[in-house]
Symmetry: C2
Subunit: 337 residues, 2 copies
Amino acid sequence: MLGGGQLGRMLALAGFPLGLSFRFLDPSPAAPAGEVGELLVGPYDDPALLDRLADGADAVTYEFENVPVEAARRVRALPPPRALELGQDRLGEKRLFRRLGIPTAEFESPSLPALVKSRRLGYDGKGQRLVREGPLEVGPGELAEELVPFDRELSIIAARRRGGETAFYPLAENVHHEGVLRVSRVPAERAPQAEAEDYARRLLDELDYVGVLALELFEVDGRLLANEFAPRVHNTGHWTIDGAETSQFENHLRAILGLPLGVTAARGPSVMVNLIGGVPPLEALLALPGAHLHVYGKASRAGRKLGHVTLVGAPAGVVAAAIRLADEAAGATPGGV
Amino acid sequence: MLGGGQLGRMLALAGFPLGLSFRFLDPSPAAPAGEVGELLVGPYDDPALLDRLADGADAVTYEFENVPVEAARRVRALPPPRALELGQDRLGEKRLFRRLGIPTAEFESPSLPALVKSRRLGYDGKGQRLVREGPLEVGPGELAEELVPFDRELSIIAARRRGGETAFYPLAENVHHEGVLRVSRVPAERAPQAEAEDYARRLLDELDYVGVLALELFEVDGRLLANEFAPRVHNTGHWTIDGAETSQFENHLRAILGLPLGVTAARGPSVMVNLIGGVPPLEALLALPGAHLHVYGKASRAGRKLGHVTLVGAPAGVVAAAIRLADEAAGATPGGV
């Protein structure tokens, strides 16, 4: 696997029961996946390391969308490197959406206010600026996008196996804070599930996709606009570990290994709460009935995703208590949000 | 952890999401848990290895009931070494059941036919002989037990945290073949849940128990007789990974770390099928809707437990198909059952 972050770690934990074992390449010797597999430490574009990574592997994948496309090509990674390449180029991504008939915010002749973004990938809201009054200046490596007064943010996790079998999870409704995901609720109320699946399927088929893909959407006056896709397992799909019949992690592995996809149905209403900057005391968190904790083995740092907790079928009071504990733990870290 | 078999491996997989990491001691360099933690290879009674095992650990436990009691005492393992000691002595175990008012098959003055067993622990039906006609000769290291024409075999998985909090899983109905567990179904129909919990609770409290314990029971004409207990996570509790809100593995870790126990409710009717001697082709097995596969990373060998598959809320036809695949894979191994 290219990348050894928490996504890689959770992929490995889903893969051991299938009899798989894992090797990771990551620039950091402290990569969270190092605890659950062999870790090669070095840059993603080192040919010798890439060859060692792929040596003897049944499949190679990536868990981070900023890995160089050339590296993914060298190791014949799945999802197809073309998906990675498109996902790294916001303008190419929008043009693809448009070509496939998937609605987006206006980006060819946007009105103000507009968001100016670097064309190359940022993440978690980094690399964006809001322009409220003209003139709208867009640099050569940038794109401008009309600011959408959206009603809510949704996302769909989709999987496609070699040969074309697809599966879709129920839509998640997501709440971000300062550009970082805080809470996902599944299933989203009055979810436009069929429309979201239709858009995701167009992407999967166009890219001859293999693996799990996340499509982020805005809902505006009952319409869906595609924001971006990620060619990988996704934070808004973490609820699937406890809340779905088969997790996004297991289905990604099944897909890239050419195995049948698992059932994507929800086991009940789920709420996933990110633990950012701090992990609450376990005594308090695990006392919440039905709380499923997932920590990533990372050192605490303000604003850093350290874990998440998922509640399945929990009463509103329990969900509120989990969010309060997460907020308190975040606040307890110097500089925490 | 003393022991690095599949139980240790599954404990580790349940523990990583809680932020734990693991060190194992096992005589075999091929121990399945070696893939998911540090493996010390050597005998269980090597003091230097035991000290290295326990060095810096928040807790020490065992996953195998034949480890020397002295080793468990040296590393202050939980569950309490007294439970291990009693569990290793079939006669002491029966006397404990009797003292606690838990019914058992007659073992003080048994009629024929009787089972003669070694007093020291065997497992999976090894070390037993059936005596149909007298005289009943019982050696010094043996005990004789009246053969019980039981209607079915049940088991209950119980957990107790330091301080006394307890939790019980729904009763499993178990089918053995040649002394080896083949299938567990949960919840058992018309399950005498309260009676089983009562007996398990007497054991837990008497032993000031900490961790997960399995109590195996026979049902005879509507009465429960205790057969034996295991002071550890248990094969008849493997369904809990997919079929219960919290797995037996996570609850064992929570218990020995002094954390609140997780909810033990079933997510739906579950059937667990052991994979013995061979693992079915994944393409066929994973095509069964709702099939959850768990393989242990062990080399195939006739009669060896290589993994299990759990089906939650599956129709009878799907369950039958899983059992058929397991049987075919077992038969495909030379000497397989």
